[in-house]
């Protein structure tokens, strides 16, 4: 093949694809950003009050979706990762990252959206339902504030919507008959929204089906990726700092400190971390934050060992003793001498750790001790799917696959990095 398919093609391709599909929403978001600026100047208080997380999230992803391809194009020769040929790992990694960053843009519903339960629950993949739009009160006035509200309600997907009805089919005679799974609903015609004399009807499409609450599994998967990656990054960061600091202290100071810290590490290694994690979560409550912290605390031991042995090794070397005599301070020493040496084993370790943490979070959610039900999580999705094993296989299939692919990606990345840092391994 003459032209190799490179990572940056893929990145730009996916971004453009999203832009094309979600063009209207992105455009609306931009105009909303202008309105917010205007509002900030005119009515500072109201603007700040309504600038909540989902809105900022939406702004950020709409901006990034345009900026990202540009940056990728600019850096395509400078960053080696972008310039290499695509592989399964890189495709998966890219998709995950894009899920992570552009979750509000990609998903077609709020992950918590539910309505007309008996109509929508446990729908298989590729099914859809009719959406009947009811007449809403027109927001009166043409001032900036009402413009803001009108536009915001178009962009931000809420977890509820009292102005629609989901149905199998409908028939418009004297009255609007709306057919649902277990009956008919007859509404006066004038309650239904009109455009040019025709009732406004759209379809809601469920790519991967719905769960027992009638929530869109695809949207939950996309937002679940956020949670998984967030937990992964967060706890790896904690492990990293703990391992670095304690390992350095232990190796550098030696003696009593070393003895105590090493024994503590032995203690943590002498029984499976999962029990420790479950114990803490069961006793002190489980939330997103506590899961991150506890998983971070349960994974620093191997890093500690790497750092400690490396520090001890370097401490005895000549150049280190010289550096000390010259008068460099310990933290300078850490940064200048030790860090470069331990960087590659640490990075490899962290990537593997990342996979392990995502797995652990899912396992905890499966046991009911995960991040709670404030945010969708793959493990929790599998857990609840288990109750509907006989009726809705899709409830565990897609989160299960996502989980396997993510962990596979992390492991593969770790392996590749290991080969990259230690090319000796490659040729045996």
């Amino acid at each position: 093949m003459k032209y190799k398919l490179k990572n940056w093609y893929l990145l730009i391709g996916i971004c453009l694809f999203i832009i094309v599909i979600k063009f209207e929403i992105i455009l609306n978001t931009y105009s909303l950003i202008f309105i917010v600026f205007e509002l900030l100047i005119k009515n500072y208080k109201i603007a700040v009050l309504h600038l909540d997380m989902p809105l900022i999230d939406m702004f950020a992803s709409s901006m990034l979706i345009v900026i990202m391809p540009a940056i990728a194009f600019y850096l395509r020769r400078k960053l080696k990762i972008l310039d290499t040929k695509i592989s399964i790992t890189s495709i998966l990694l890219l998709i995950l990252l894009i899920f992570f960053i552009f979750a509000p843009l990609i998903s077609n519903a709020n992950p918590d959206f539910q309505k007309n339960l008996n109509e929508t629950h446990l729908l298989p993949p590729f099914s859809s339902v009719e959406v009947v739009h009811l007449k809403t009160k027109q927001i009166v006035g043409n001032n900036i504030q009402s413009k803001f509200f009108a536009l915001k309600s178009k962009i931000i997907k809420n977890s509820f919507d009292e102005n629609i009805i989901l149905a199998d089919s409908m028939h418009f005679g004297n009255e609007a008959d709306i057919f649902e799974k277990d009956g008919k609903l007859a509404l006066p015609k004038d309650t239904i929204a009109n455009s040019f004399g025709k009732p406004v009807i759209s379809r809601m499409f469920y790519l991967l089906g719905t769960d027992e609450f009638g929530r869109d599994i695809f949207s939950r998967l996309v937002f679940g990726a956020r949670v998984s990656l967030f937990v992964g990054f967060g706890s790896v960061l904690i492990s990293l700092s703990l391992g670095l600091i304690l390992g350095f202290l232990s190796g550098y100071l030696g003696g009593f400190v070393d003895l105590i810290l090493s024994r503590i590490v032995d203690m943590f290694l002498s029984f499976p971390a999962i029990f420790f994690v479950i114990l803490i979560l069961a006793f002190f409550g489980n939330s997103l934050l506590s899961v991150i912290v506890v998983l971070g605390f349960s994974g620093w031991m191997s890093l500690f060992k790497i750092v400690r042995s490396e520090v001890i090794l370097i401490k005895c070397k000549d150049y280190f003793i010289t550096a000390k005599m010259v008068g460099l301070k310990p933290n300078n020493l850490l940064i200048r001498e030790i860090l470069p040496n331990i960087l590659s084993p640490i990075i490899v370790n962290l990537v593997f750790q990342f996979g392990a943490v995502i797995l652990a979070e899912a396992a905890l959610s499966y046991l009911g001790l995960g991040i709670g039900n404030l945010y969708p999580s793959w493990g929790a999705m599998i857990n609840s799917g288990q109750n509907y094993l006989n009726q809705a296989w899709w409830m565990i299939l897609s989160p299960g696959l996502c989980l396997i692919l993510t962990i596979y990606t992390a492991n593969d990345l770790g392996r590749k990095l290991n080969l990259y840092f230690n090319p000796r391994l490659n040729n045996g």
């Binding site: 539910q114 977890s159 027992e212 489980n286 001790l369 039900n373 404030l374 109750n387 006989n390």
Partner: protein, 557 residues
């Protein structure tokens, strides 16, 4: 060559697998024509009624040990009827302060020793001794007791002959034989054992029983096998020769085994499985109604000031009964009932279950889902969304709170999600927080939450004081800290009232007050779905339990 050998090796494995599969296929369908097999979710800790803390332990000890009298549930009145068991007959004295019992003289313990009145006295002594920590400790309400709640044996029991016993009750209480339904244990076995260590060494004592069944074998984590005691006067020749409690921890396997005829009866079947199971002709569904309900509790008092100095101050949000009423209107309970419970239950109106036919006020109807009305009530109370954030406010305070639920209960997780969305529609911001059950219940007992969802089962006979009396020191189970002077008065009257009709009238009055106050939002009564194989005949499933008086069951294969 080597690969070929290995393929051979794999061949062996496949062969073994095939045998196993065929073997397990031919395994099914009942090999126990004379046994009833009951599927339970976890092993018991004890067969001794002294230490039967759980439902299954109670069921088993009831088959092994008899009591003075037994209860029967009267469907029509929703009341309990006393029936003879070890006591053949009894007579009240003129002011109903004592009862004289005629005991059976044909009952023998399994080691051949005869049952006498001494066993009765000893059993009550042991049950109420604080050092024993028996399951009935503290539950005896009709006997004189000392400060440690140990029954005053000498004053309460007068043994007139080995088979005649007089029991004196506490003064000024309504006559009631409730405390005589306790399963009795043999004195000659337990009298020489140090009471302090009884709880830890009880398992080493070989059970000596007098009931219609005896313990044949207890395979840990597998099964408890009871065999019928032909010497018992309750023995039925047409009854089951064996009752086997089979431990099947996994719910799905329990259902599969019920469907395949490997077990004959199991409880707590989830509603989504009822459809496939009811297709089987040999299975019969028999829900136990009206024992358990879920509720959405609003803390009536402010948790912080209660925690600080036990001060009772109305809750900032939920202290107002109008607000609580609005919240009840705003929640679509029917949707949860219909969607999750598949209508295996009914909307709850108050704390008295519909099964108590004489006590319940049938004129009270559950508040219907009506978000518009809810919004209006809240607006009248001053809760309005002035700054259009979608969340109501009053005096600068947002209407937003955390709803706590215990983890591991799919119904509550389901309901919480629905409730959260329902309330969001009327501008109430709810954050669901799931807590591990132990932590959850500890904090609930300390009244630390503002709002939470939990469940409770009603005691039979009815007990209102423990749950709805204002004084939080005396009623640790008034979780939502309901405060109402009128209700208190009625509750005190109920406890001392001797006339049944007046008592039932008082219950209705209390219900009306609670209906108006909405101390909690009563969600729904949840059926306990029991299913059994139709080869069991003469089975009566009452609110007293699924496995109740199982010696009356007969078998028809």
């Amino acid at each position: 060559m080597q690969i070929l050998k290995k393929i051979n090796f794999f061949g062996y494995i496949v062969f073994i697998l095939l045998i196993v599969i065929l073997q397990s296929c031919s395994n099914n369908f009942n090999k126990h024509p004379n046994a009833i097999i009951i599927g339970i979710s976890s092993d018991i800790e004890s067969t001794n009624p002294l230490f039967s803390y759980t439902v299954n332990e109670g069921d088993i000890s009831e088959l092994l040990y008899m009591s003075l009298i037994q209860y029967k549930w009267d469907e029509k009145s929703g009341e309990l009827i006393d029936e003879p068991m070890l006591a053949k007959d009894w007579s009240w004295n003129s002011d109903s302060s004592s009862v004289t019992l005629d005991l059976r003289n044909d009952v023998y313990w399994s080691d051949g020793v005869q049952f006498t009145a001494e066993d009765v006295v000893f059993s009550f002594d042991l049950y109420s001794d604080p050092i024993v920590q028996s399951s009935r400790y503290g539950t005896f309400k009709t006997f004189e007791a000392d400060t440690t709640l140990h029954i005053d044996i000498n004053r309460t029991f007068e043994v007139e002959s080995p088979f005649k016993l007089r029991i004196n009750f506490k003064k000024n209480i309504p006559p009631d034989l409730i405390d005589l339904t306790v399963p009795l244990i043999p004195k000659h076995i337990f009298q020489n054992i140090d009471r302090k260590n009884l709880i830890t060494i009880e398992k080493q004592i070989k059970p000596v029983t007098d009931g219609p069944f005896y313990l044949a074998e207890w395979q840990k984590n597998q099964a408890i096998i009871l065999k019928s005691n032909e010497r018992s006067f309750l023995h039925k020749p047409s009854g089951a020769k064996e009752i086997i409690f089979k431990v099947v921890p996994d719910y799905l396997s329990r259902i599969t085994q019920l469907r395949e005829g490997e077990i004959d009866l199991t409880e707590d079947i989830k509603t989504e499985d009822l459809k496939q199971l009811s297709g089987k002709k040999y299975l019969q569904l028999m829900p136990i109604k009206g024992r358990e309900y879920d509720y959405l509790a609003w803390n009536n008092i402010d948790p912080e000031s209660y925690k600080k100095d036990n001060k009772i101050v109305p809750n900032k949000i939920f202290g107002d009964e109008k607000v609580r009423e609005a919240l009840t209107y705003a929640i679509n309970r029917n949707e949860i009932l219909h969607e999750f419970l598949k209508d295996q239950g009914e909307l709850a109106v108050g704390p008295i279950a519909p099964i108590f036919k004489n006590a319940i006020d049938t004129l009270l109807k559950p508040l219907q889902f009506n978000p518009k009305k809810a919004a209006k009530i809240l607006a009248d109370e001053g809760w309005q969304d002035i700054n259009k954030t979608g969340v109501l406010e009053k005096n600068g305070m947002k209407f937003s709170f955390s709803l706590f639920i215990p983890s591991g209960n799919p119904l509550r997780e389901f309901a919480a999600t629905i409730i959260k969305n329902d309330l969001k529609e009327i501008g109430v911001d709810v954050k669901i927080e799931t807590l591990e059950p132990q932590v959850f219940f500890e904090r609930m007992f300390k009244h630390e939450f503002d709002a939470w969802m939990a469940g409770w089962s009603v005691a039979i006979p009815l007990d209102m004081k423990s749950y709805w009396y204002s004084d939080l020191k005396k009623t640790p189970m008034n979780f939502s800290c309901y405060q109402n002077k009128n209700a208190d008065k009625i509750i005190m009257k109920i406890d001392s009232e001797k006339n049944k009709n007046i008592k039932n009238h008082l219950y209705k009055e209390l219900e009306q007050i609670i209906y108006k106050d909405n101390p909690v939002t009563f969600l729904y009564w949840i059926n306990n779905n029991v299913m059994y194989n139709k080869r069991i005949k003469d089975i009566k499933i009452s609110p007293l339990g699924a496995v109740y008086h199982a010696w009356n069951w007969t078998l028809n294969n």
